[in-house]
């Protein structure tokens, strides 16, 4: 189950698909679901970022496909099944989120339990087929279900280590007036990434080719109009470049200034250390009428 799942290296939190027991897919208001403007805007040309966003695209596609299968039961169903869905029950399919899958499984379990109470029994209470003295063979599916349910309930941290998905809260973007964007939760995100606000700010400004300031409540005010998705893209690139360890892909790392003014990222889980490039602003064209005072 875990093998078939694509490995997300960077995920934003509230993009969960909840698959109900009756096979209904409810998509929470995640911004990964609908890829409209920012995707068309963003070329996403860094290889790794591309990789990451490809996964997101895949995610989105899968979601859409699944929704479709419910509506029109045509060829789409078959093709979708063959391509995407590996599990025995096509209804719940290959949900990317393990939680969702599990929830669906458990839901199914309950459904079935209603129907065939005698055979299944309650795995937690140890009745029916799960009875200690019971000699009838337990189907592999059910064993697997029990394993994952137990693992999930008793060792949640073990579960998460299997499929790494690094979650940071989604950036909150507000518009200030017409020409400025407020990035409200930058300090929260920075805390999660264990990076200084200044470094992230510098990167954002360099990438977006703009400038800005920090307001009274430590929010970042960026000049120019930016959507949440665009900020998210840049943040994703930041994470790939400055947060994740290239060797073990763990996001648990620290950025520090080494000798001779270079920045180094030290991984906390595997101990590797690599240098990262300093943030360079590069050429920025003069926009607007008045030339900025040059020294």
């Amino acid at each position: 189950m875990a093998d078939t799942k694509p490995r997300k290296s960077v995920a934003f939190e509230d993009s969960t698909t909840i698959v109900d027991s009756d096979g209904q897919v409810t998509e929470s208001a995640g911004m990964n679901g609908d890829k409209a403007s920012a995707e068309s805007h963003a070329p996403g040309d860094d290889k790794e970022v591309d990789e990451v966003s490809d996964m997101f695209a895949g995610l989105a596609k899968k979601k859409k496909k699944k929704v479709k299968t419910e509506g029109e039961e045509g060829e789409d169903v078959l093709s979708g099944l063959k391509k995407k869905k590996k599990s025995k029950k096509p209804k719940e399919g290959a949900a990317d989120d393990f939680e969702a899958q599990l929830a669906a499984k458990v839901g199914d379990e309950k459904e079935e339990a209603d129907a065939e109470e005698e055979i299944e029994g309650d795995m937690m209470k140890g009745t029916g087929i799960w009875q200690h003295e019971n000699t009838s063979p337990v189907p592999y599916n059910m064993l697997l279900n029990r394993f994952f349910t137990l693992l999930h309930s008793q060792h949640p941290d073990l579960m998460s280590s299997g499929s790494k998905s690094y979650k940071i809260p989604p950036p909150q973007c507000l518009r200030e007036g017409n020409k400025k964007t407020i990035f409200a939760n930058i300090s929260e995100i920075c805390k999660r990434m264990k990076r200084t606000d200044e470094h992230v700010t510098q990167f954002l400004f360099a990438e977006l080719g703009t400038s800005g300031s920090v307001d009274g409540s430590r929010r970042l005010v960026i000049k120019g109009r930016f959507q949440q998705k665009q900020i998210e893209n840049v943040l994703r690139r930041y994470i790939v470049e400055y947060v994740t360890c290239k060797t073990c892909r763990s996001p648990d790392s620290e950025l520090d200034k080494g000798e001779n003014r270079l920045y180094f990222v030290t991984c906390n889980s595997c101990g590797s250390r690599r240098s990262v490039t300093a943030i360079k602003t590069g050429f920025s064209a003069q926009v607007g009428k008045r030339r900025r005072q040059q020294k």
Binding site: A38, E207, L208, T210, G224, K229, K280, S284, V287
Partner: protein
């Protein structure tokens, strides 16, 4: 093995790079080609292409690009970055394809191109 052959054991000369870079600024920045985007007023944007190899004539490239992508543009000479191509609108994807295209474009290595922006 002598100590000279091991890179790490060489004493660090902080000024070694500085003297090289005086003559030619472009060699220092690893010869990356940066494609950037800047917001202008409204929905307008500006694409800048910085660090194209010296062997290409920027003006000729600009001429081709302008025709191909149907946009206007100029070559700006910056004191630090050298010659930079400025294009109107978001041409990042187009420019990248053009630079890597072997048949009709410049046929550059995609790894040397860095696209910035959202």
């Amino acid at each position: 093995m002598t100590t000279d052959t091991i890179q790490n054991l060489k004493s660090f000369d902080p000024f070694a790079e500085a003297e090289d870079s005086v003559g030619d600024v472009k060699t220092t920045s690893q010869n990356y080609i940066h494609i950037r985007i800047q917001q202008r007023n409204g929905r307008k944007t500006l694409t800048t292409v910085q660090g194209l190899p010296k062997k290409f004539d920027q003006k000729k490239i600009l001429k081709v690009i302008k025709k191909k992508f149907a946009c206007n543009g100029t070559v700006v000479t910056d004191t630090e970055m050298g010659e930079v191509i400025q294009l109107q609108g978001d041409q990042r994807k187009d420019v990248q394809e053009f630079l890597t295209d072997k048949k009709e474009g410049l046929g550059l290595d995609a790894k040397t191109i860095k696209v910035h922006g959202f």
